[in-house]
Subunit: 270 residues, 2 copies
């Protein structure tokens, strides 16, 4: 199944939706956050003409990110393969809809970078879960870009302040269920800036796969339906280029996972 | 004013309350999270017999913590006075009620440490706020202990996984409004373990005071009524002792800020 939260022409608000033969049909919830939290069965309703996917999960209670999870990205940061996943937290305010502008206030030394990622959506409550239990609780997968303010990220030991700028993490456009997509057998994670490919990784090279991450996180905190875990970015970020290269006003960031979809977001530095 | 979320004998649920001449009176909300989020005026109602403060803010959208904010604690970690606050995020699930047990599963090498802190409660929405605007938006102050699982904290570069274990951060017992308590002129932050004083700092030695922290955070993310910011811990944590000393099953952690109140929580390692 391919599910989304969609907007409709001349209609306020959003509707959860499921794609059937290329057309969106209504699901009985305002968005996928509500659908998953309330455990509503995805029974298709009427066809929705003119539906456009927007932020699929507007209200995850937790958005937990894994850094340093692809071998080539670990190498470009000069580090060794880790024994444990490097985790940090974001809040729902960080998320941004497909197609929306990535708006940052201008400041001296701004270093805005891209990080294309596979995102896992939690479908059932998890606490002290084994990897098998975690895998069974995956609602689906979507695309994310953990856009990072590197100069703020480097200000202190903790990355949070470079990672949690409001409305800077594009997410979507759809959530694809595990029966249609298996990242452990390999899906490509791609980032293009102004049409030039900058990142292309494969999820089969993840150090910690989706189930391993959910299981590990559930050791210390509960995960609930609708929570999102970002699995890390492959090599090719701007700070790893020679010389380091960052996003500028007007740049178009395309983040794509074939089999899920494409996010296209324009940078606006004002 | 001194406000709390209280439980009542033989009553399910909680009530927001205000202390008048040593007695708790009802406020028209289920807890202080609701009171602040809805902007409900703290008009006292009936007296509440047998009221006992519990977790004052059960649902903050954000719990943002500052590390390395007291000179003596910075020194004991071997670091220099910072130019920027070191920030990391927690979720509401991390919070624990006054008097409740700090329950951790046993694991090899568990290093459970204490970090007494002043916590600031946000009273109005803040975004791109000046320190003066931030100061005017402070709803009050309470006591917290950022109990830390040091072995997990040190597993990776990012502290989150050592800081975000569910139900390990005692918070409360009351929220004191700024007209009654001024941390910039100095309040003491104390931690005792089994009656032995381990930490005593003074908030007038904070590198970044409450208003500075809220203003800085509001540069990148919105703060809303009921959000909580932990201002960091003074010197005297267990990992700074010679030899390093950690909490054990049955230990009683008392966290106190005179003028606010005392948290007493017992460690249970099962």
């Amino acid at each position: 199944m391919r599910m989304a939260t969609v907007t409709l022409p001349d209609t306020v608000g959003t509707t959860a939706a499921i794609e059937i033969e290329g057309r969106w049909h209504a699901l009985p919830a305002a968005d996928l956050s509500e659908l998953l939290a309330a455990g509503i069965a995805p029974v298709p309703g009427d066809e929705l003409a003119g539906a456009r996917p927007t932020l699929p999960l507007p209200r995850p209670g937790k958005v937990i990110c894994c850094g340093l999870n692809y071998g080539d990205h670990i190498a470009e940061t000069g580090r060794e393969k880790p024994s444990y996943p490097t985790l940090f937290a974001k809040y729902a305010d960080t998320l941004l809809a497909p197609g929306a502008d990535i708006v940052l206030p201008a400041h001296d030394g701004l270093e805005l970078d891209w990080e294309a990622e596979l995102a896992v959506v939690v479908g059932a409550e998890l606490r002290h879960a084994t990897p098998a239990e975690a895998e069974a609780a995956i609602a689906g997968y979507t695309v994310a870009n953990d856009i990072s303010v590197r100069d703020w990220q480097r200000r202190t030991l903790q990355w949070f302040q470079g990672k949690a700028w409001d409305a800077t993490t594009p997410l979507g456009p759809v959530v694809v269920t595990p029966d249609e997509l298996d990242p452990t057998s390999g899906v490509e994670v791609v980032c293009r800036v102004n049409g030039v490919e900058r990142q292309r990784g494969n999820t089969k090279t993840l150090v910690f796969d989706s189930a391993a991450l959910l299981s590990y996180i559930s050791t210390f905190t509960v995960l609930r339906p609708g929570d999102v875990v970002l699995t890390g970015t492959p090599g090719g970020v701007g700070m790893g280029m020679e010389p380091p290269t960052y996003l500028r006003d007007g740049d178009v960031v395309e983040t794509e996972i074939p089999g899920i979809g494409l996010l296209s977001n324009t940078v606006r530095i004002a």
